[in-house]
């Protein structure tokens, strides 16, 4: 069943490619190529030899690295159009979006397909509701989904790629090396220190990189898998709290400019680090909260 949803994602990527080709910008073919390769991996991936998908990923990386994967011309609704629509539809516009989370939760608890399929099911219901509530022409699905795919751009495959990086790290034995180094700090059978090292690791890596997602695959492979899980830590709790321990680092670093520097520029502050200064004490407090929560609930 989940393959149906992956194929639908593939269709969205193909639409993004078709839209790109219709543009006149010089980067249009490169952008289209990116989405087509991705669509093929999504739709035919399980039937392709691994190295073919791997070669595809390498091409995606080169296209993305060449800075040629950028937004192409979009059908952006005008301000008057949005205002007019808003006055006609009113508060009902929230229904489809709110239904995404609710139907996903209900489908995950009530239906026997699992949480991943539930997300797919909720998206389909959401689209139907959106069309029903707004009475929008079906072509808007095409315009608006390709518009948002364009906004996210090549970063849309980032989480998936990090999972693949984690797999490579494991096969190559990177986790063992980090674990070998961490052994010097983490005494055997000391749960508390292992948890502290895990949370601080997420915090510091996210701080240095300005990105908690990238930190997550490294720290999971290097600290959680060799230390926390053998001690009996619950993977769900470690995963959920691990990523948010990383978020604490994200909100303390100038490296995450979108969060911490750009708003200061937008608001024209005299001190450009004021956003970080107003977040840092809360983030440190939350980091301690993470350590305590993991200690009490993950074991």
């Amino acid at each position: 069943m989940i393959e149906i949803f992956y194929s639908l994602i593939g269709v969205i990527f193909i639409l993004a490619a078709i839209k790109a080709v219709g543009d006149t910008a010089p980067h249009r073919y490169w952008t289209a190529a990116f989405w087509i390769i991705l669509a093929v991996i999504f739709m035919a991936g399980p039937h392709l030899p691994g190295w073919v998908s791997g070669a595809g990923i390498l091409l995606l990386a080169l296209l993305s690295g060449s800075k040629n994967v950028r937004a192409t011309k979009n059908n952006v609704p005008t301000e008057e159009e949005v205002k007019h629509n808003a006055s006609v539809i009113g508060g009902k516009v929230f229904i489809p979006v709110l239904s995404l989370a609710l139907t996903a939760f209900l489908a995950a608890t009530l239906l026997p397909f699992g949480a991943s399929n539930a997300i797919g099911i909720s998206s389909i219901i959401g689209i139907c509701l959106a069309l029903f509530v707004t009475r929008a022409p079906v072509k808007y699905i095409l315009w608006d989904s390709t518009r948002l795919v364009d906004t996210v751009g090549s970063a849309s495959i980032f989480p998936q790629l990090l999972a693949a990086l984690g797999a490579l790290f494991t096969v190559a034995g990177v986790g063992k090396v980090i674990a070998g180094l961490a052994v010097c700090i983490i005494p055997p059978d000391n749960r508390f220190i292992a948890v502290v090292v895990f949370c601080l690791g997420m915090f510091l890596f996210a701080f240095i990189m300005g990105n908690a997602f990238a930190a997550f695959s490294v720290i999971m492979v290097g600290i959680a898998v060799p230390f926390l899980f053998p001690q009996g830590a619950n993977p769900t709790i470690i995963g959920a709290l691990g990523i948010s321990a990383g978020y604490c680092g994200t909100l303390c670093t100038p490296m995450a400019a979108n969060f911490n520097i750009l708003p200061a520029v937008l608001l024209e502050t005299t001190d450009k680090y004021i956003v970080i200064k107003s977040q840092i004490s809360l983030m440190l407090l939350l980091l301690v909260t993470h350590i305590l929560l993991i200690n009490f609930f993950a074991y």
Partner: protein, 228 residues
């Protein structure tokens, strides 16, 4: 030398710190790590390709984009704006507290109603600023900066910590995929549920900060009024 296997980690750290293309950085780190560990180039591609196909789940959030896109066209942000603007006659801190609660709830439902450029600067800042002027008359530059910092922080804390409460969020799916690739089966719903405590703590602590800010400002401007 075993330690050379860490070159991939170093590439990720340096690549991100220097703001190289994220996708290219991650793929380079993976390939170099594999080669250093003695795998052949084809083996590396094979491992990476298989893992990538296995973890398509992490990109499932793309399916939610059409719904969000259509609702944006039909005035999602407009309506959220109308709603926020109804808050009146309260202190700067209270407006930010109401905003952080609304913003966290909307993030937990994957509603992209905010944004520093689209929402914070044009709507939230003028409201908070207006409330401060109303309460204290003139405010100095230092206060102005403190308030601006808190407004931006409000938006960041709410969106960042509440996003994973939505089980279809990129963060949740990343957790499921990375753990799945390491052989630990977890599902997105439980990751979302376990994201609630921290999201709640972040919002509550922010509200406490806002209360303290209100008190400090009231004290500061009461004193300066006394001097006059």
């Amino acid at each position: 030398m075993e330690i050379f296997k860490l070159v991939g980690v170093a590439i990720v750290v340096v690549g991100f710190a220097l703001k190289f293309d994220t996708i290219l950085t991650v793929v380079t780190a993976g390939i170099v790590t594999g080669l250093v560990a003695g795998m052949s180039f084809v083996e590396v591609l094979d491992t990476m390709g298989n893992a990538f196909v296995d973890q398509r789940l992490a990109t499932l959030f793309v399916l939610t984009l059409p719904v969000v896109g259509i609702c944006e066209r039909y005035g999602l942000k407009q309506k959220a704006l109308d709603f926020i603007e109804r808050i009146q006659n309260v202190t700067a801190g209270k407006i930010m507290s109401v905003y952080i609660v609304l913003r966290a709830i909307s993030a937990a439902f994957s509603l992209r109603m905010g944004g520093h450029a689209q929402f914070v600067r044009p709507v939230v800042h003028p409201m908070v600023h207006g409330a401060a002027i109303k309460s204290y008359g003139q405010i100095d530059e230092e206060t102005e900066d403190i308030i601006k910092g808190r407004i931006a922080a409000t938006e960041n804390v709410a969106t960042v910590f509440a996003q994973n409460v939505f089980m279809g969020s990129a963060g949740c799916l990343l957790v499921v995929s990375v753990l799945g690739e390491q052989g630990y089966k977890v599902d997105a719903m439980h990751v979302a549920l376990w994201s609630i405590p921290v999201a709640a703590a972040a919002v509550i602590l922010s509200i406490v900060q806002n209360i303290i800010l209100d008190r400090r400002l009231a004290e500061k401007y009461a004193k300066s009024e006394g001097i006059k």
